[in-house]
């Protein structure tokens, strides 16, 4: 799912943590360059990377200074790592132009999720065509194509799919969907919504499993099929 050419600059002075992070990111297909102190980090050209993971506590140049120096000319996303869970540090880092921060200790999955969230290209919600997984949703034509085959959906089913597809990967509340998707003229409840969802899944065939039920919340359109 990741672009193999996704280059990430990691600035971390701790050998073990650095090699761990480097390995985890490499396993996810990132091309990681690891610098072990602030001075070496200052020599890097941030323009060459899609994202920087920066530890604040560095020998040599302090992490905030590295951040300041990067921000002087570039807007590459910077994810801050900090052992100090201090609000003032976070506020300062964000003011200096950091995009996100992660407090130690963190799980490798947490870091990867945060990196991926930063790199995810925003879905162009106003574009006419939304592509999620094997789905292609043409909004103005109100057409849905599943792996090349057009599928015929009812109005409610189409609106339901469109509402989910506008925020792929994000759970949407059942009440919110019911209010906006169901016909206000006809008596309908959240149960009615569930019925529409199960019909929609069937019609989408192989892509039906992308429409996931989320406990106590509602539904979510996954960007890839569950493994």
């Amino acid at each position: 799912m990741n672009d193999v050419s996704d280059r990430i600059l990691l600035v971390e002075d701790d050998e073990k943590l650095g090699s761990q992070i480097s390995r985890h990111l490499s396993d996810r297909g990132f091309d990681v360059t690891w610098r072990k102190d602030g001075d070496a980090a200052l020599e890097e050209d941030p323009e060459r990377y899609r994202l920087v993971v920066l530890d604040l506590m560095l020998p040599g140049t302090y992490g905030m200074d590295v951040l300041k120096s990067y921000r002087r000319a570039h807007d590459v996303p910077v994810l801050i790592l900090s052992a100090r869970n201090e609000t003032s540090d976070k506020v300062r880092a964000l003011e200096l132009g950091a995009d996100d921060y992660l407090t130690k200790p963190f799980w490798p999955e947490e870091l990867v999720a945060r990196v991926q969230a930063r790199l995810r290209r925003p879905v162009l919600q106003r574009s006419d065509v939304i592509r999620v997984g094997g789905l292609e949703i043409r909004e103005s034509a109100r057409e849905v194509v599943v792996e090349g085959e057009p599928v015929s959906l009812t109005r409610v089913e189409f609106d339901l799919l469109l509402a989910l597809a506008r925020r792929p990967g994000v759970a949407v509340e059942r009440t919110w969907l019911a209010e906006r998707v169901l016909d206000p003229e006809r008596p309908g409840t959240e149960r009615t919504l569930d019925v529409h969802v199960s019909r929609l899944r069937k019609k989408l065939g192989a892509c039906g499993s992308l429409v996931r039920t989320v406990w106590s919340i509602g539904y979510r359109l996954d960007t890839e099929a569950a493994s």
């Binding site: 869970n85 201090e86 506020v91 799980w107 999955e109 945060r114 406990w215």
Partner: protein, 537 residues
């Protein structure tokens, strides 16, 4: 340098130039008075018949030894050129003569003396008489009373172009000539002759014609015997002032020393004992200012000590609390290694427990940190806008890895539009994290946890739902109401819902939020944060 030394030095440095200035001023004034006196004398003499005499016998005004007494004319050193005999007869002949008659007699006699060696060296009008008229000149004869020294003077006559009126007149001394040449009416200098200071003046007469238009006069200056007296007076004055300053400085110096001792004692007693305040002057102000400063230092030290104590306790608590899960973790890791070495399969439960212990330690340290912050920050918390959706995502992502090991799904939903609340992001995130952690920890394997952020107008609701066993209804109010003390942070409770939720509750209240708990149907727990949105439209 001590205060007294500084005062004395200052006085001396001021007094010495002042005294020198006074002495110089006095000398200058005296010199001016002497110049004026000699000038007036010469002008008077010349106007009272001296001019005629001089013009008639310029040779006789060519220096020499002059002796004048008040109201007297003396012609002396008149000698016969041939015999060198002093002509005493002149004196007798003049005796008893007065006014113009006497002058005429003198002039006649002098004519008779021409060609002989001798000089008329000076004359003086009578006291109180106007000097302009010849008739006012009175001669009391050639008796020789010892004249007062200030009336000794010698005269030389010169023309307006400063050439000598007679062949015997010496050239005018350079310094005087220069000034007269420059057009000055008078010029003067003082020089030493045989141990005596002599004032020499060149004076232009009120007339510019004739051989006696410029007169040079010399007169011995009286010795300035009163100068040492002046110096003594000044020295005594300086000494007196010095003594007065020393006496006046004494009490001040003593009070400053006392204040110094007080300050030292106060510093030694950690600023508990104040400095004495005596009087109402600057030294009293100093003492008062020191006491105020001491007060501030005490308050500051107290605050620092309190923070230090909090920190010390935090470090001790953290050390203690982390040791137990760390020991469990070490045990697990050791067991895993032994199994691996002996070729046995690793027990997944043991790995899972290790992960949980590690996660617990991280959460524990953050919680102890939060407790320390809440205890220390009795004042305002850092207040900024918090992006609640981002906060929810961070919290969910933090707990997902550990939940996944037990097959628990952690899901969330946030509105598309941003929702902000005011507060300290670290503490609020820890509060939400504690609630989510509890929901994961006390859920069954394969259970669910959902975090829902909803916003309605100017308020937001953040709910954490789980489908775990919930809480006995009678414990619910306690769960919500329990207050924590720092000692409770150390207790690793069996039910575990203690400290984390208590911190969450405290943080919520400090942010003006409510945190309530309710059981769900059929089973599970709902924790509900509710509060105002920031800048909601």
């Amino acid at each position: 340098m001590s205060l007294r030394t500084r005062l004395a030095l200052t006085i001396l440095l001021t007094a010495i130039p002042l005294a020198a200035g006074l002495v110089w001023l006095r000398a200058h004034t005296r010199r001016l008075a002497q110049e004026r006196s000699l000038h007036d004398l010469v002008v008077t003499v010349m106007q009272a018949g001296g001019r005629e005499m001089c013009e008639a016998f310029p040779d006789m005004f060519s220096g020499g030894h002059a002796l004048f007494g008040p109201g007297s004319l003396r012609v002396e050193n008149v000698r016969s050129v041939e015999s060198g005999e002093e002509m005493e007869g002149l004196e007798e002949a003049l005796q008893g003569l007065e006014g113009g008659e006497a002058l005429g007699k003198v002039l006649e006699r002098m004519k008779g003396l021409q060609g002989k060696e001798g000089r008329v060296t000076g004359f003086l009008p009578g006291p109180g008489r106007p000097p302009s008229s010849q008739s006012s000149v009175s001669f009391s004869g050639l008796i020789r009373p010892e004249p007062p020294p200030e009336h000794h003077f010698a005269l030389w006559a010169y023309r307006a172009d400063l050439s000598g009126a007679s062949t015997v007149a010496p050239p005018i001394p350079v310094r005087i000539r220069v000034k007269l040449d420059a057009g000055d009416a008078t010029a003067s200098e003082v020089f030493e002759r045989r141990g005596t200071s002599v004032l020499r003046m060149g004076i232009r007469m009120p007339w510019a014609d004739g051989p006696c238009a410029v007169m040079v006069a010399e007169r011995a200056l009286p010795p300035s015997d009163d100068d040492p007296m002046i110096l003594w007076g000044l020295a005594i004055l300086c000494g007196g002032v010095l003594l007065a300053v020393f006496l006046a400085a004494g009490p001040m110096v003593r009070r400053i020393r006392r204040l110094k001792a007080d300050v030292k004692r106060s510093a030694a007693s950690r600023y508990e004992s104040p400095a004495r305040i005596e009087g109402r002057d600057e030294i009293a102000d100093l003492a008062r200012t020191f006491n105020e400063a001491a007060e501030e230092v005490r308050a500051h030290v107290a605050a620092v000590e309190e923070r230090e104590e909090t920190l010390r306790r935090f470090v001790a608590d953290t050390t203690h609390d982390v040791m137990t899960p760390l020991t469990v973790l070490q045990g697990h890791l050791s067991a895993i290694r032994e199994r691996t070495l002996s070729g046995e399969a690793v027990d997944p439960a043991e790995v899972r427990s290790s992960l949980e212990e590690a996660h617990y330690m991280g959460s524990l340290i953050h919680n102890l940190d939060a407790v320390a912050k809440l205890e220390a920050a009795s004042k305002d918390l850092t207040n900024g806008g918090i992006d609640l959706a981002a906060l929810v995502v961070r919290v969910v992502e933090r707990h997902r890895p550990i939940a996944r090991t037990r097959g628990i799904d952690v899901e969330f939903t946030v509105p598309e539009a941003p929702v902000e609340a005011a507060g300290d992001v670290t503490l609020l995130e820890q509060a939400v994290s504690n609630v989510v952690h509890n929901a994961v920890r006390y859920n069954e394997d394969g259970g669910h946890v959902s975090v829902l952020l909803e916003s309605d107008g100017d308020r937001f609701v953040l709910r954490v739902l789980d489908d775990g066993p919930g809480v006995p209804p009678e414990s619910l109010p306690m769960l919500a109401e329990r207050r924590f003390r720092s000692t409770e942070a150390r207790t690793r409770r069996k039910d575990g819902r203690g400290i984390g939720l208590a911190i969450a509750k405290d943080v919520a209240e400090r942010h003006g939020l409510t945190l309530t708990f309710a059981n769900l149907d059929p089973h599970g727990l709902e924790a509900r944060f509710e509060g105002p949105r920031l800048g909601a439209g």
